[in-house]
Symmetry: C2
Amino acid sequence: MPSIFDYSSPAIAVDLAMLCVHGGALRCVVMRRADGVEMGGDWALPGGFVHRDGSLDDTVKRVLHDKTGISNAPFEQLATYGVPGRDPRGHVISVVYLAIMPSEVLIKGVEANPELRLARVNVDWPGETGGAAQALDDTGVPMRLAFDHADILGDMVKRLRGKLDYTPIGFQFLPARFTLRDVQEVHEAILGQGLTKPAFRRKLLDRHALRATGVRETGGAFRPAELYELSQDQEE
Amino acid sequence: MPSIFDYSSPAIAVDLAMLCVHGGALRCVVMRRADGVEMGGDWALPGGFVHRDGSLDDTVKRVLHDKTGISNAPFEQLATYGVPGRDPRGHVISVVYLAIMPSEVLIKGVEANPELRLARVNVDWPGETGGAAQALDDTGVPMRLAFDHADILGDMVKRLRGKLDYTPIGFQFLPARFTLRDVQEVHEAILGQGLTKPAFRRKLLDRHALRATGVRETGGAFRPAELYELSQDQEE
DNA sequence: TCAAAAGTGTTGATACTACACCCATGG
DNA sequence: CCATGGGTGTAGTATCAACACTTTTGA
C-alpha cells in the first residue's frame, strides 16, 4: 500500500486571531509581513505551520507563545480557509483559531514583539449579517490586510456576536473579577451598539451563573461598582 | 528561501457528513472501511484527500460525486479535526463538511454504492448540550464508528440544532415544495423532541419568508396539505 | 357520516424594553 | 450638597405555548 504522503498535498497552517476589548473597541493582533513578499497586504494574522504528528492545539499554543510570550489563553476554532493562492510560496490551508484574553494581558504580549500591532476591528454591517471587516490603527487609518484576512475577521465578529448571549465567551475578555459595567463594555464593543443598562444587567444575571464577591472596585471617582466572578468553572 | 513544502507536514482530507431526514429520524451516510485496517471501527464518514492546488470546496464536490453520483448539494463547513492517530497510515487532518439533501435524493445515491449505508443518528443528550452521537442501523443496532467520528456526529447535531431556528438550514432537507408538516418532521427529528403544531406553524411563517403556492399535496389519505416554497433564493 | 389530519382563534404566562427613580461616593 | 455613575422598581409590550376549535378530504 503506498503511503498517503506520497500524494502531493497542501501545507497546513494555524492562524491566530488574538483578541481583546480595549478602549470601547474589539481589537485583534496583526503582524507585519516580511518585506519582499509579492502578494497581499502588509498585515496579517500571526500563524505557523502544523508539523507532522503535531496537533492543531499544540500548534496554537506554540504560535501564541512564540509571538507574544503568553502561555495560557482560552482558544477555540473558528473555521478553515482553503483558498489556493493564499500564500505566494504555495498552497496553504489555514485553520483559524480565536484566542481571547483580557486587554492587560494581550497588550503586554504585543509590546514584547515589535512586529505586532493591536488593530481595532471594525465592521460596516449590523447584527449578524456577515461580511468583511476592517483593521484600523490607533489613528483610525485602515491597515492593509493580506489575502482573505479581512473576511476572516468578519467571520470572527459574526461568531462572537452569535455566541455572546448564550455562552460565557464574553467573560474571556475580562479578568477573574470584573464589574457588570465591564461586561457591558465588552458586549457593546463586540455588538457595535449601545445597550441599556438595566436590561443588560438582568439578562446577564439570569443567563450566567455570576457571584457577587462583596468586594468593590477601587481607584475610581464616584460610587465604586461591585466586583463579580463566574460561579463555577464555566469554560466555553 | 526554502519551500514550505520541505517541512514535514500532515496530510489533509475532507470528510463528508451527508445528511437527510427520513422516517422521523436524522440520517447520515457512513461507509464500510476497507478490510485489514488495524485501527478504529468498521464504519466512517466518506472522505478524500485534498490535492495540491485543489480547493476544499472542490474536494467536497469530488467526494460527493465519487461516492454517490450526486452532483449538486448545499454544503457547509463543520469543523477541522486534528487528532494525531486518526488514520493508521499517518497523521491526517480532516476538515468535516455537512452536505444536506432531501431523503429521496440521498437514498438513491446510497443505493448506487454498496459500501454505503444510511445510518440513523442518535444522541443521548437534550437541547444543545453536546457530546458524542451514535449511528444505528435499520434494526436499531449501533454501528461501530472509526476514530472520533462519533464526536463529529455529536458536534454536527449540536450545530444543526443551533442553526435550525434562526437560519433556513432546515429547508435544505426538503424538496423545493413541501408541506408545513414536512418541515415540522425535519425539526422534530433534529431536535429529538415533539413540537406543538400551532406554535410551530406560526414561528415558521414569522421567521422565514415562505410563500403558499396554492397547490396541494396529492396521493395522501384525508385532507391534503398545502405546498409551500421559499420566497426568495434563501441560501444559508 | 366518520376518522384523521389540516389549519385557525383565544387565552394566560413569560420575557423583554423603556423609563423613572433611588443610592453611594468624591470633591 | 452637587455631580456622576452604580443599582433597582415598575409598567407596557411583544412573544410564546397550550388548548380548543373548525375545516377538509377519503372511505
